[in-house]
């Protein structure tokens, strides 16, 4: 059980990226009537940005 929680917290920045940043990006774009590039949906665009950002944070240990 402890190992499961360790893994969850290890991957938390990635989960945060897709669980929170992605919908936040999509809903902010909707609010300001912005369209995602390359014919992507706003949530698809949010998932790419949020997922990639979270993943690099897991690897580097820094959000920026």
């Amino acid at each position: 059980m402890e190992n499961v929680f360790k893994q969850i917290f290890y991957w938390m920045p990635f989960l945060f990226g897709i669980g929170f940043i992605a919908p936040l990006i999509a809903q902010t774009m909707n609010l300001w009537h912005w369209q995602a590039p390359f014919g992507l949906s706003n949530i698809g665009f949010g998932l790419i940005i949020g997922g990639a950002w979270g993943l690099q944070t897991v690897i580097r240990g820094r959000w920026i």
């Binding site: 938390m12 919908p23 936040l24």
Partner: protein, 335 residues
């Protein structure tokens, strides 16, 4: 007959190795062990000052503590009510965000009183209230009371010790670096802030420390679950403005004003009268949460936050005699 000094009987003089202690070479440099700054007082004077100090401090202990409980529960209830109100569209989000930032930051003050059992001590009738105030106050910053209390008491026991003071990682050379560090220390791969606390608790290994670690993990998971659920149901902006952003603002504000400002510079300053500074806050007494007089809190943690200013002015002459730099604050109490 004059001797040729270059020859000196053929012997070349080597540099003289001094004895263990050579008074002539003693330039009064730094001691081998870092010693506290001397106040130049003899032990009788110190004892008399200490007795007077204790007498004065006694007058400021206790007092009305119910406003802390009212503030803690009132603010927590208001903050929780923001979530359904925001979902129903009845809330001015920017204003609610601002109020949430104030609640998240101010919650530490009420929790802090509970950490020192200033609302009620163990065995007293209202002990449950003390624990409840502590528990609700720091939920907005996702910092469980159990962890906050252990870490804060460790900070008091080992103030400014680079290895034992859990808040030592907040040290920075100037105010803008201190603000940057409040954010930097929260990065997932940096051993600062709550990550540092978690490591210390793991090393402590006591039942209380294990409980604090468990509660921290549960509160963090609850925070994430709320953010994710709200976000994927169309309320990501509400979640960000009511909890995520206020938490970060609150944590940075608390780290800056309650940790960096009153203890900078930390290095080598571990003595009772030197581990905390008096400083003049540009934002004033209330906005700095009374931290200008934080030295009183470190000397007497039982004096509640709202009375530290009055206690300071009552014992200012003693602090000055003990070598505390009292110049940053006016000699006479203002309103």
């Amino acid at each position: 007959m004059l001797e040729d000094p270059k020859l000196d009987h053929g012997a070349i003089k080597a540099p003289v190795e001094p004895a263990l202690y050579e008074p002539a070479l003693d330039t009064g440099g730094a001691p081998a062990l870092p010693l506290g700054r001397s106040d130049g007082l003899d032990r009788h004077t110190r004892r008399d000052l200490r007795k007077e100090e204790i007498e004065i401090a006694r007058q400021f202990h206790g007092g009305r503590m119910w406003p802390y409980a009212v503030a803690a529960f009132g603010c927590f209830a208001l903050w929780v009510s923001f979530f359904p109100l925001a979902i129903m569209g009845y809330l001015n989000l920017p204003l609610a965000c601002l109020i949430s930032c104030v609640i998240a930051t101010g919650g530490y003050v009420t929790s802090h009183e509970a950490m020192h059992s200033n609302i009620a001590r163990k065995g007293e009738k209202l002990r449950w209230l003390n624990e409840a105030v502590g528990a609700v106050s720091t939920i907005p910053i996702v910092f469980p009371f159990s962890m906050a209390r252990i870490m804060h008491l460790e900070h008091h026991y080992h103030c400014n010790d680079p290895l034992k003071d859990p808040d030592y990682t907040d040290e920075a050379p100037n105010w803008w670096m201190a603000i940057y560090k409040t954010w930097y220390n929260r990065q997932p791969g940096v051993d600062g802030s709550i990550h540092h606390y978690k490591r210390i608790l793991s090393e402590m290994g006591t039942p209380e420390a294990k409980r604090a670690l468990k509660e921290t993990m549960l509160l963090q998971l609850f925070f994430m679950a709320v953010l994710f659920t709200m976000s994927w149901n169309g309320y990501a902006i509400e979640a960000a403005l009511l909890w995520w952003l206020p938490r970060h603002v609150g944590l940075s504000y608390i780290r800056f004003y309650l940790s960096w400002a009153p203890h900078h510079p930390r290095e080598g300053k571990t003595g009772r009268y030197e581990n905390t500074n008096l400083f003049k806050s540009k934002l004033g007494h209330v906005m700095s949460m009374g931290m200008q007089y934080h030295i009183i809190h470190h000397m007497y943690p039982g004096i509640p936050n709202h009375r530290t200013k009055h206690a300071y002015y009552a014992m200012r002459h003693i602090l000055e005699a003990r070598g505390v730099d009292v110049s940053p604050l006016p000699a006479v109490k203002g309103n």
